[in-house]
Amino acid sequence: MKKIYILGAFACLFAACKPSVNITVPSTAGDAVFTNYLAIGNSLTAGYADGSLYVTGQLNSYPQRLFEQFSMIKDRGARGPFYQPLLNGDMGFGPGSTGTGNNRPRKVIGYTFNCLGDTSIGPVDLPYYSADADDAKAYTSPNRQVNNIGVPGIRVSDYLVSFYASLNPYAGRFYYSASETPLDELLFRVNNLHPTFFTMWLGSNDVLGYALAGGQGDGSGNAGPGAFGLYNSADITPTSVFKMNYDTAVAVASSVGAKGALINIPDITSIPFFTTIPSNGLYIPRQSLADSLTQFYRSLNYVFSLGYNQFIIRDNVGALRQSVPGELILITTPHDSLTCAGWGSFKAIPEQYVITTDELQNIRNATTRYNEIIRSAAERNLLAYVDMFSYMSTLQSGIVYHGVNYNASFISGGAFSLDAVHLTPRGYAIVANKIISTINEKYHSTVTPVDVNKFHGVLFP
């Protein structure tokens, strides 16, 4: 063995020293066939980021990353083109905050001035935003081919709702027909594309809506549907509805013999939307202030002290109480109100900005139930089961990749985009690698992982 290296050293004389290392793990498909790849999902699949959908985000979606890696495989690798319903530009598209029109700017890092006159940097709406008229036009592609049918906002409970394209502008841009259900759309895509491989990442929105609304829905997972068969968007989808719709969608997706991967629902309570403001974020700099707060809340027998204290909360029936450790405060709680208007101290934070421990339990229980449905669907249909719940929980403590520590902190963590829910291009690349490693395990393939650091994270002015 050593002789070879000694020979190598002499060879070095003539070759002018050119050692090379080729780790020859060729990309192979194993038991899978990646030729026609179809991605099914919600905003995470669409490439939604920074509070909106825009073309750069779409081009950095995890399905795009997966397609690129699948297409490196020579035998049974993906064959393009890979059509995503791309927008025209980077302004941002979607329902605006006022509820009328599709004028949803993406967020960027900008300078902000708070009520005290302090300057800091943080997420702001794109300053030069003007809705791009071309974004609102229907998406067209040759033969109407679409490989990524991720629709921001879609829930499993929406899958049997007719005229879905008229209810959701993201679906409206590319759905085959205005009257169909999302399930009809899936069936159409399957028959149109004949996928040999699909990924499905659905279900987060069936519990996220409840959490984003501060747990204001029923939360038991038993509430019935409203008009048009739509379930309350601020509530938790009933398990039976989830199971029926999800199983049907998987059956349709694999109806032409496709193999694939089902991705489970991450722990939404660990995303920065809920973890950035701690429940003990009430900072008291002076003893006199602590004393006056203690005096103010004397009827409740709370004692405030220097440093960090639990916020004061007003529950739905108007009762005041101090928050307890473990409760989550939404990132949407108005900052200026916390800083200057006495929110959380002399004025209580309204309950709609708080996820109580009971509500947290509702979210966790629902997630566990849904993930069990997803896991058994994967098992029954012999599909790969990507445990994103566990993987993204490790983000909490941090994932070090090639010298960079990615974690779930807002802005500084590098993985979450400026809306505190969706991911940066690097975050989506990390997710793609988790999916790839699960696929490789299940199908004995050797799909090459993504070089995460090639893509960008949060951009700073």
Partner: protein, 408 residues
């Protein structure tokens, strides 16, 4: 309320370098050409480095100059792809002046200026390990005034005081990007100095057998006031302020034992065998202490956990005639870097070294030396746990050298 939501995680995981491979064994061309074995045989004034005791064995005062060109190349590969270091040439040099104070006398004095430690590697700025290192360079120069005394025909002793000066330079990308998606970067540059000593015993058992034993102490290079510059987007400049830093880098102690024999009756052939025991375990961790701290800029403490190494060197010198000698040799130099600590600033691995050279004496008192060293590491699959960076490395280097010396 958390006031600063932002900032990006600065992981100065890097800056670990100065590893094993940073020992250079290029101090005398004849010894270099003999696999680096030079502890037992005082060929010329470069014995100031190899064994200070040998200086009193030299016949007259000698001036010695040599220069080398180190041309390393490293390749890296992992599941995702491969990379190759950018070509560079380093030029360490050696100057030795010294010999007996009186011709044939027992006391000898000398001065050596040489470069026992140094390393450098440069990767493409956009390579996959850019957040660990883009380029790094360490240089050191030792200045060693030396005294040597020949006690008897058999025994001689020597001692040198070492003053060391050095510089290093590190560039790496930071995971903070501007609006164009360009990475921020850090540039650390510093210089340091330290002191130590070099002791030697030489035994001339017979005309055909010589032995040497040396100890070179550890030299702690203390860096103070090094500059740390951060090229970051304006909005985060306050958390990545340009500052200064201090650090300490241990250049390890080395214990060497050498044997030289002349097996042939005509004494034309000399064989030399050296063992070096290098105390790398003093390099337990690397600490970089910044003089300014922010929530993102914190002192760095990276574990290194080097282990001591045992190097074997074997060489031969054959005197063809009065004018020409030729040399050849080989060495096996194991790495001090353990498996979980192999980082791309110093992707060190066990090394196999093959050397050759020639000495020509065209006129009286004047000798010209030429040597060449070929080095190849064994391919090493390893991991850098601190930065979660794994892969396979392979390093090769070719080092030609020329030198002259003159006997007064």
């Amino acid at each position: 309320m958390k006031k600063h939501l932002l900032a990006a995680s600065l992981v100065l995981t890097s800056f670990s370098s100065f590893g094993a491979g940073y020992q250079l064994n290029l101090q005398g061309l004849r010894q270099l050409a003999m696999g680096g074995a030079g502890t037992a045989m005082p060929w010329d004034a470069s014995t100031i480095f190899y064994n200070p005791a040998g200086l009193s064995r030299i016949k007259s005062i000698q001036a010695y100059v040599s220069v080398l060109g180190v041309m390393p190349a490293t390749a890296y590969g992992n599941f995702e792809g491969s990379a190759r270091s950018v070509k560079q040439t380093f030029t360490p040099f050696n100057i030795y002046v010294g010999g007996p104070v009186k011709e044939g006398g027992r006391l000898a004095l000398g001065l050596g200026i040489y470069t026992p430690f140094g390393t450098g590697i440069k990767w493409d700025d956009n390579w996959t390990g850019k957040f660990l290192v883009q380029s790094i360079e360490l240089k050191s120069v030792f200045v060693q005034p030396t005294i040597s005394y020949r006690l008897s025909e058999t025994w001689s002793f020597g001692a040198g005081f070492i003053y060391a000066a050095g510089t290093f330079d590190l560039r790496q990308a930071l995971p903070v990007q501007n609006m164009l998606g360009e990475d921020a970067s850090a540039h650390l540059h510093g210089s340091g100095n330290g002191v130590g000593f070099n002791l030697g015993v030489h035994m001339k058992a017979s005309e055909r057998l010589q032995l040497g034993l040396t100890y070179r102490s550890q030299v702690n290079m203390d860096v103070d006031g090094g500059s740390a510059n951060f090229n970051v987007p304006v909005s985060v400049k306050n958390i990545f302020p340009n500052t200064t830093f201090s650090s300490r880098l241990p250049l390890p102690q080395v214990l060497s034992l050498g044997i030289a024999v002349k097996p042939l009756n005509n004494e034309k052939l000399t064989l030399a065998l050296d063992f070096n025991y290098t105390g790398w375990n003093s390099y337990d961790s690397l600490r970089i202490n910044f003089d300014t701290h922010t929530e993102m800029l914190k002192d760095m403490h990276a574990p290194r956990k080097y282990r001591n190494t045992f190097t074997t060197r074997l060489g031969a010198n054959y005197k063809i005639g009065k004018v020409v000698s030729v040399m050849g040799g080989a060495a096996y130099d194991p790495t001090p870097v353990t498996n979980n600590f192999v980082s791309p600033e110093l992707p060190d691995a066990d090394r196999v070294i093959v050397t050759c050279g020639a000495a020509i004496k065209p006129i009286k008192r004047f000798t010209i030396l030429a040597s060449c060293e070929f080095l190849t590491s064994l391919k090493r699959k390893s991991n850098y746990a601190y930065g979660n960076f794994s892969g396979t490395y392979w390093t090769q280097a070719i080092t030609p050298g020329v030198g002259v010396y003159y006997n007064f």
